[in-house]
Structure formats: structure tokens, C-alpha cells
């Protein structure tokens, strides 16, 4: 088995919110004990509802938020020991909102060339060549280089964002909902592009998305997050065809499928609202919404344990489902 490119060990990111003067300080456990790894060339899908900590996890991996606990190892070395620039050349990120993720006052060329210069590529010709090259790869024409972001459509902007992420030739790219802000008819273009680039450049992805269809389509492995924790993790086929956590099942059941009307049993559906991460329920975080809730769920926090080879779920009843 290949050495993991990225290894997270019991990673936790807690935020202090509020102030001592205004109602007291609370701890928000945005990410709470996540252990994961990503191998080279692999695509890990990360799904979960809004606020469950997906973006926070991504930013922690990027080194933008210091972890409260646990370790992040890139290429086998702890993130803390790596230089900022070195990390930048290993892992990059694609953002959700193509409108907010480009500096409106910079041309495409500057957006792409500046990082190269910062990383010591000073030869003008080389910079130019790499800019043109990457633009071609993401499907932009060379004359686009001197335009400003507002002159592009959403899909084109996302291409610029992808080009920017790839200009330093990273090994791992974190895609934080790369298509959810795009017009429906554009999404396929971007998803195809990402998959092509993956094969062509041997990239590893972490694909964060709400859209289970997309995750299923692109991922090799999938991790499901709920309130800061991984509740289930495994190969894509296992997760989608044989989910072992009631939350995963609820997620899948919530997807309207005109071909399979009412195919999912009402039992799979989750009830009620997602609790606040500030004040998560005790025991299994999912128990207030869980159709399988039992007393043990309230008192005990189920560990993430294997159910099959490479498939783990954090549910007291993981073996009874499915």
C-alpha cells in the first residue's frame, strides 16, 4: 500500500466564540477528532450537512487554522515542521464561490504569475510559459490572460480558480464544493475537467460536496461527517450501496430521485433539525434525529469501527443496518 500523501490523526479544531464580556466564551468543536488519510492519486469524497466542519477541516489541512489537537502529516512529515512555501507546493485548494475567490483587481495573468514568482520562478519566459500552459489545460484561451475576473462567466472563473490551484503543481487539491455555486448546466464541464486533470497530472483530491451524486461520481473513497466527526468512511460503492450509519442512510434518502419515487423507506429519513455545533447532544451526536435511537446512544459515544475491509462506521447498531 502506498504511503499516504495526507494523514490526519485525531485532528480537532475548536473555536472560541463569544467574549468574556458578552455572554461568556464557548467552545465550538468544528472538527472533533478526525482520523483520515489520502493516498497519492486518490479522490476522497467528504460529505455532510452545512456547518459540520468540512471547510474547517480543509483550512486546517492548508495550515490556515491551527489545530487544537492531533496531527496533520503531509508526505509523511508533520505540517508544523514544513515551511509555508513547501506546503503550498504540495497541497492547494479550489473554492466554492468563483465570484469571491478571485481578486477583482487582478488580471488572470497576475493571479497566476505572482505565486510562481513568490515560489522563486523568476525567469520571465518560464513564468509566461507556465501561465499559458496551465490556462490551456483548464480550457482558457491565451487572450484571456489580461482580463479581469468580472469579464468572465462563473464557469470560466472557476477554471481560473482551478488554474491558480494547479500552477504550483501540487500533489493534493482540496475542492471545497467546486460546483455548487455554478449554473446547473455548467457543472458537468467543471466536474469533467477536474477528473481529466486528475488523471493527467496524477492528482489526489479531497472532494467536499453536498451533492451526493457528484461525490459518488468522482470519489474513490468517501467520508461522511456529522457535527465535526467522521461517522462513516469507506470505498464509494460501500458507502452508497451499503451504508452502515443511519445518518448516511438519511442523507441518501433525502435525495429526490424521480426514477425511484418513494423507493427509500420512510424509516431511513432523519427527523428534525441539525443541532448546533456549539451545543451538540451527548453520546452519539445523531441520536435526537436517529430512527434507531436507543438508550445507549444517549449515554455512549460510538467509536468509528470497522464493519468490513476499509469500511468503518460510528454507530452502536452498525451491524444491524444494511
Amino acid at each position: 500500500m502506498a504511503e499516504p500523501l495526507l494523514a490526519l490523526d485525531d485532528l480537532a479544531v475548536h473555536f472560541k466564540v463569544g467574549s468574556a464580556l458578552a455572554g461568556g466564551v464557548h467552545t465550538l468543536k468544528a472538527v472533533d477528532g478526525v482520523t483520515l488519510d489520502v493516498k497519492p492519486g486518490e479522490c476522497l469524497g467528504l460529505v455532510g450537512e452545512s456547518g459540520c466542519g468540512k471547510s474547517t477541516l480543509a483550512l486546517a489541512i492548508m495550515g490556515l487554522i491551527p489545530p487544537t489537537r492531533g496531527h496533520i502529516a503531509l508526505d509523511g512529515r508533520d505540517l508544523a515542521q514544513r515551511g509555508r512555501l513547501e506546503t503550498a507546493r504540495t497541497v492547494q485548494m479550489i473554492f466554492q464561490d468563483p465570484y469571491a475567490s478571485l481578486n477583482p483587481r487582478q488580471t488572470v495573468r497576475r493571479t497566476l504569475a505572482d505565486p510562481l514568482r513568490i515560489h522563486g520562478v523568476t525567469d520571465r519566459a518560464e513564468v509566461e510559459a507556465r501561465v499559458v500552459d496551465i490556462m490551456a489545460k483548464v480550457g482558457l484561451r491565451p487572450e484571456h490572460a489580461d482580463r479581469y475576473p468580472h469579464e468572465f462567466s462563473g464557469g470560466q472563473r472557476q477554471r481560473i480558480g482551478i488554474a491558480r490551484a494547479l500552477i504550483l503543481k501540487p500533489k493534493l487539491v482540496i475542492c471545497d464544493e467546486p460546483v455548487s455555486a455554478l449554473d446547473v448546466s455548467i457543472r458537468a464541464q467543471i466536474i469533467n475537467l477536474l477528473l481529466e486533470l486528475k488523471d493527467e497530472l496524477g492528482l489526489a483530491y479531497i472532494m467536499i460536496s453536498h451533492d451526493l451524486g457528484v461525490v459518488e461520481h468522482v470519489s474513490d473513497r468517501v467520508a461522511v461527517m456529522y457535527l465535526g466527526r467522521i461517522v462513516e468512511q469507506g470505498g464509494w460503492q460501500e458507502i452508497f450501496e451499503n451504508p452502515r450509519h443511519p445518518y448516511t442512510r438519511a442523507l441518501i434518502a433525502a435525495i429526490p430521485d424521480p426514477f425511484h419515487r418513494a423507493a427509500v423507506s420512510a424509516r431511513a429519513k432523519a427527523r428534525g433539525e441539525v443541532p448546533s455545533a456549539l451545543d451538540p447532544p451527548p453520546g452519539c451526536h445523531f441520536h435526537p434525529r436517529c430512527p434507531l435511537k436507543a438508550d445507549i446512544c444517549v449515554s455512549q459515544d460510538p467509536p468509528l469501527e470497522p464493519v468490513a475491509a476499509g469500511h468503518r462506521a460510528a454507530c452502536h447498531f452498525r451491524d444491524r443496518i444494511g
Binding site: 459518488e216 464509494w236 433525502a254 424521480p258 426514477f259 425511484h260 433539525e273 441539525v274
Partner: protein, 330 residues
């Protein structure tokens, strides 16, 4: 026109006053909703779904205005109805739910009061009676402990709860038609499913027809009996829900259905390259001549560049009308 037609929109045109010219943000839009029926309107962002709904409500504001066409509610032409008449219809006979539950409620007013207003406005109820009925309405939308919740302010409720309150407001006076403009896009997926179910259930119980607006074809097809697809201000296809997924006629609809990875697709067919729809959605100011989909259409021919396609009726399945607007449909 069918006998049990509730809302009929004929050749609706909505004008958008630009800097110098007037654009047609929506044109040649016709559809019909029958009593108790769920009708879906799907389309990408900016194609004119919301303003169509607002036109029906008589709530268009500058720079938008009604450019032409007829809107008939229960046979009554309301496109030129007086302001007072429209106020009577709004709320009591047509209810509406908006996309953003965060901002659609007045943050400074208890939710109970905001529901109760409906009874005061339309049923001459006194405030205390109205508040009691508001509590009842909250119970109907399955808000836990409604007695306490009536006094809560919107910020004390979660997104799903707020949307439930919106539903309670819209359905308070048992309208004949509920217009739901992307009621769940701002919600979590699991919550979304619950809200949709609730809406469908309540409407069925009250016999309220629904005009469901969304950009999610799957969602609409799942919930509605009939679906119309809009593109760039025009309806390009309308079919029964199953048919539009199984046998889409318009190249745009076909593109939409095929381009999106659907759950279970990979297991069935393996990881295939998605079908792309080339190009981008045009902006109002730059709608192409002829068929508006022509720059992106794989089947486009010369006629598509010059002539806007007329409506072609499709063979009716289940006695529901179906139509497509394409020179090369099928």
C-alpha cells in the same frame, strides 16, 4: 381551458427597463395549473422563474413591469386588477413562500404575530383570536410546542423552523394556490426533504394547488405532477414529471438530465464522462436571436439561428398537456 383550471397564464411578457432599451425578461410564457395540482417550474438561475411568480402575485416592481399577456385566476383576469382587489387575492387565495427563510420574516416581530396578521387582514379576526389561530397554524406545520413558539422571534428559530413558519403564513387562509419559490434551497438536504413532504401533505389536505419553483429538476419531478422547463425567459418544454426525466424532448432538458451525476448512476454504468452542455447561459441583454438555446445546442441548424421555434404540442400522456419549443425536438 380546462374546467377545473385554477390559474392560467397566457402569453405572459415581463418587461425590464434597461438604461436605454426595454428588455423582455420573460416572454411567451403560458401555463395552466388546475385545482389541487402540483405544477413545477424549473430552470437555471436568472431565467425568470421568480419574476413570473411575482407577476402572478402582482408584485412586480420597477424596473420590472408586466409587458403583456393574461393572468386568469379562476377565470378572473387579474393582470390589471385594482390594487385593492389584488390585496384581497394575495394571502387569502394565493399564498407565497420565498427562498430565504432567514430574511423573509420580519426580525423584530414575533412569528406568531406574523402569522396572526393573516387572520386580521383577511378574516377580520381580532388580535387575540388571531394569535390563538396562529398557534394552531404552527401546530399544523409541526412546530414543536407551538404555544411557546408563537412568542419567539425569527432569529430564535432554525432555518427549517422558519420555513415552516413561512408555510404556516402562506397557508393560513387556506389559499387555492401556493407559490413556492425555491423553498428549500437554503436548507440542509435532510431538512429539505422534510419540508417538501410537509408542504405536499398540507396542500393535499387543503386541496391547495402548488406552483413549485426550483432549479433542481429531480426535486420538482419528484413532487409535481407536471413540470415546465424554462430557459432564458421562455418555457422550452412542459411534460408530466415522469416523462420529462424519461423522455426529455428539448435538447436543453436532455442536456440537464444527462449532464448531472445521479445517485446510483456510477454503480449502474461505471464512471463515465458526463455529458456537457457547451457554453454559458446568456444574459438578458444578450439573448441570441432565434432559438435562445442555439449557441449551446448540439442540434442547432440555420433555422434555429433566425426563427424562434413555436410551441409544439406533444402527444398527451395521462391526459395532461405536454409541449416543447424546439425545431428539432425529440
Amino acid at each position: 381551458m380546462t374546467a377545473d383550471s385554477l390559474l392560467r397564464v397566457e402569453d405572459l411578457r415581463i418587461a425590464l427597463a434597461g438604461d436605454r432599451t426595454i428588455y423582455n425578461a420573460v416572454e411567451e410564457v403560458s401555463f395552466e395549473i388546475r385545482r389541487g395540482e402540483a405544477f413545477g417550474l424549473v430552470g437555471e438561475s436568472g431565467c425568470g422563474k421568480s419574476i413570473t411568480a411575482l407577476a402572478v402575485m402582482g408584485l412586480l416592481k420597477r424596473p420590472l413591469s408586466l409587458g403583456g399577456g393574461k393572468i386568469l385566476l379562476d377565470g378572473e383576469e387579474i393582470q390589471n386588477a385594482s390594487a385593492a382587489r389584488m390585496r384581497m387575492l394575495r394571502g387569502s387565495r394565493i399564498g407565497m413562500i420565498f427562498q430565504e427563510p432567514m430574511t423573509a420574516l420580519n426580525p423584530l416581530s414575533p412569528v406568531g404575530r406574523q402569522i396572526a396578521e393573516m387572520f386580521v387582514l383577511h378574516q377580520n379576526a381580532g388580535w387575540s383570536e388571531a394569535m390563538d389561530r396562529a398557534e394552531e397554524a404552527l401546530r399544523q406545520v409541526r412546530v414543536p410546542s407551538p404555544g411557546r413558539r408563537v412568542k419567539d422571534y425569527p432569529h430564535q428559530l432554525s432555518g427549517g423552523m422558519r420555513q415552516r413558519v413561512m408555510i404556516a403564513i402562506a397557508l393560513a387562509c387556506s389559499p387555492e394556490l401556493l407559490i413556492a419559490d425555491e423553498p428549500t434551497t437554503a436548507l440542509d438536504v435532510t431538512v429539505q426533504a422534510e419540508i417538501i413532504d410537509l408542504m405536499a401533505e398540507l396542500c393535499a389536505a387543503k386541496g391547495t394547488a402548488i406552483l413549485m419553483i426550483s432549479h433542481d429538476l429531480g426535486l420538482v419531478a419528484n413532487m409535481c405532477k407536471r413540470v415546465a422547463v424554462m430557459y432564458a425567459g421562455r418555457i422550452v418544454e412542459a411534460q408530466p414529471a415522469e416523462a420529462i426525466f424519461a423522455k426529455p424532448q428539448h435538447p436543453y432538458t436532455q442536456g440537464l438530465v444527462d449532464s448531472l451525476p445521479r445517485l446510483g448512476e456510477r454503480s449502474r454504468r461505471g464512471q463515465q464522462r458526463l455529458r456537457e452542455i457547451a457554453g454559458v447561459v446568456p444574459s438578458i441583454q444578450a439573448y441570441p436571436a432565434g432559438c435562445r438555446f442555439n449557441p449551446r445546442c448540439p442540434r442547432a441548424s440555420d433555422v434555429c439561428l433566425t426563427t424562434a421555434p413555436a410551441i409544439t404540442p406533444l402527444p398527451a400522456a395521462n391526459s395532461i398537456e405536454a409541449l416543447v419549443r424546439c425545431h428539432h425536438h425529440g
